[in-house]
């Protein structure tokens, strides 16, 4: 995705063919039919449903205007879910991305055997959420030795560590989820960084070190600024990905215990589907969608302006 920016750059100024309306329509038709039918239509339907109090059964009758949204904004668990989303986003940007960047620098360009490590680090990305959830539920399960061993190791390394159950402790469950998310997705970001790094000519960094910059300074003042576009892209993907995460959280904890790992998507599922409050659930979906949209627009405007080709990247 990041490449589009680079490619667009090259293409700037190229005159485009003025298309015949019939050709345009013909070529857009298949995508338009699919997209309008299965993506846009359900969204509009969802937005419409969100204005009703509806248990999902029987006709849509009880129009309530924006009541669902008013209830939502006052609902404490909704705030909690929103906060958990924010925590995951902050952790992703503050920890997961730097780790990915560090590893990209580490194995990125010169290390012999780097393709091997790269392949390995990216592997979890292709393993399905269902399988990942089963695997990690096993590892975190306090019944089995795996979590005991991990706790013992961590207890030795980290002096302030509190050994105990992971998914069963409201204090810890979000960290557990974050560990799994990092395991599964950091490879994606690392790959993007590696791609970005390869676009930076080594001469520039060498020139900096000849000018007396140490490694840290070179990284801080040369490499990272030159990577800024990739970094913006990864942050963007990371935020959207965190907001949209559902499968892993639902399969591992269903948002529990005591809502300690509830995120917007699981909140929507619980209060929309499980509780038979479809109108309300649709309202949560609208809010989630709006958050993504507003974030996209602002973020693109602030950080990705030069690449601004579409409303979203």
């Amino acid at each position: 995705m990041q490449s589009t920016f680079q490619l667009e750059k090259k293409a700037n100024g190229t005159k485009r063919l003025r298309g015949q309306p019939s050709t345009i329509i013909l070529f857009l038709l298949p995508a338009a039919i699919l997209f309008l039918t299965f993506v846009i239509f359900p969204i509009i339907q969802g937005a419409y449903i969100s204005l009703y109090k509806w248990n999902g059964l029987g006709p849509l009758e009880n129009f309530v205007g924006f009541d669902n949204f008013a209830t939502m904004f006052e609902h404490e668990p909704f705030h909690q879910a929103l906060i958990h989303n924010l925590v995951i986003i902050v952790l992703s940007i503050g920890l997961q991305l730097p780790i990915a960047l560090g590893l990209a620098l580490l194995v990125g360009r010169k290390l012999p055997g780097r393709t091997f490590f790269r392949t390995l680090f990216f592997l979890p990305y292709v393993i399905s959420e269902a399988i990942s959830a089963i695997l990690w539920s096993f590892i975190f399960n306090p019944r089995f030795a795996a979590s005991e061993i991990i706790n013992a190791v961590l207890d030795t390394i980290l002096p302030f560590f509190d050994p105990g159950p992971w998914l069963g402790d409201p204090q810890k469950v979000l960290s557990a989820i974050f560990i799994v998310l990092t395991w599964k997705y950091f490879g994606l970001h690392m790959i993007l960084y590696i791609a970005g790094l390869q676009g930076i000519p080594t001469e520039i960094e060498e020139a900096a070190s000849i000018d007396g910059a140490n490694q840290w300074q070179t990284l801080r003042f040369v490499t990272i600024p030159m990577l800024s576009r990739t970094i913006y892209t990864t942050i963007y993907l990371s935020v959207l990905g965190s907001l949209q995460q559902f499968d892993l959280v639902w399969l591992m904890t269903e948002g529990g215990p005591v809502g300690a790992s509830e995120v917007l998507t699981t909140y929507m599922y619980r209060h929309g589907f499980v509780s038979f409050k479809l109108g309300y659930g649709a309202g949560v979906a609208v809010v989630l969608f709006s958050i993504c949209l507003v974030f996209s627009l602002i973020y693109q405007y602030l950080f990705m302006r030069e690449d601004y080709a579409g409303a979203v990247e």
């Binding site: 329509i25 857009l28 038709l29 338009a32 039919i33 309008l36 039918t37 248990n55 999902g56 059964l57 029987g58 668990p77 399960n141 306090p142 019944r143 105990g164 159950p165 992971w166 998914l167 069963g168 402790d169 409201p170 469950v173 904890t253 269903e254 529990g256 215990p257 005591v258 809502g259 619980r270 209060h271 589907f273 499980v274 509780s275 038979f276 409050k277 479809l278």
Partner: protein, 483 residues
Amino acid sequence: MRKQALFVVSMLVIVGLLLTACGGAAPTEDPSAALQAQVAELQAQLEAAQEDADTSDLEAQISELQDQLAAAEEAAAAEPEEEVEPVVVSWWHITSEPGPHQEAWKKMADDYMAANPNVVIEITILENEAFKSKLPTVMQAGDPPDLFQSWGGGTLVEYAKAGLLKDITADMAVDGWGDSFGAGALGVYAYDGKQYGVPWDMGAVGFWYNKALFAQAGIDAPPATWGELLEDVQIFKDAGITPIILGEGEKWPGMHMWSYLAVREGGKEAFDAAYLRTGGSFADAPFVKAGEDLQDLIALDPFQEGYLGMGHDDSEAIMGDGGGAMMLMGQWAPAVMATTSTSGGLGDDLGFFTFPAVEGGAGGAYDVLGGGNGIAVGINAEPEAIDFLRYLTSLENQKVLAELGVAIPVVIGAEEALTDPNMIMVSEAVAQADYYQLYYDQFLPPATSEVVNDATQALYAGTMTPEEVAQAIEDAYAEEIGE
């Protein structure tokens, strides 16, 4: 700008037209339709001809064509060897673990199909959680299976109110089907005087305990009161034995503890007053007191490590492997322990005792919190589906389940087939109950149930007080019934 808008709008219109065209233009190649038309036409000719002259020729033509029509319909729909178009009955059940129970279900369906060659029973086996995700979607889309697993109560009521379930009240009267069930069991699957499903299992929640660990701790009799239970918990703690196993990750196991305490504290009166809004509320003293009683237990830290996030299966496995002294659970516990534990269950060491009496509570010691499994009937079910359901809940098939120990039968007389002493105890507890309360999370409407589960879990986690728990449930219920 306007041109752009025009373009987009025209695109949308084109696509819309195409879609409707696609939707409409789906002619099914059905030879019988053509034949039907031909028959109709000839019949019209016949009527015209009858008025004046000889009709035998036309009549012969008609009968010949009608034979052809029947043959074509058979060929179109039926398996080659079957003679009439089969009625398909869809049945969703959740006995997803392979074993005698699942085989028994299958055999019942096979036997029925063998006896009724015109019926095809399509079984969909879903794992419990998958079932709970999937059923609401098909129901909300107005597309219920003919027969499906149900626990009765509030969820069933919602479906019934929405007209998604079939009223089988009249069928219950035929051949004494309704009278074959034990008292009270049918009511769980009825709403507003109409029957929408039938039970096949009806049990009680109670404490399952490990006799060997009780002996090891020097406790010779199960606790009869809540106070004794608390004392026993302390004895177990001192002996280094985990007193109670609880899979609170799924919320309902711990909710049962609170509900049972509410049943003991308030009895039928308090619940009815709150539920029927006859001067009571779920924030009343007995419901708060239930939370306080539960807090007394939680304060002793009686549960296994990580219980707050542990699933039901895992908790059963721990109990089945001898990892704890007691577990509050329904009649399915022994079966689940046997399949989930590595040891295959506790065998003769497993015992059952009813929920202890609570000193000073308004509820009697014989009052039972329980529930069971049943099968609801979807609105589109054919008479064959109901007939099959009748067969499933026949005395003979109820005895099969009872012998396997996978159900506490609901049909009178089938309980004789129970062999397991613990299951007999559960069955007796149900039979003796003065007041039988269906699990709160099944009985109450779905959104309230969700709050009951969430709030009681918060009590375990220490994030809500007993008053707050009771108030949250009251608020949710008041909102749901539109107060």
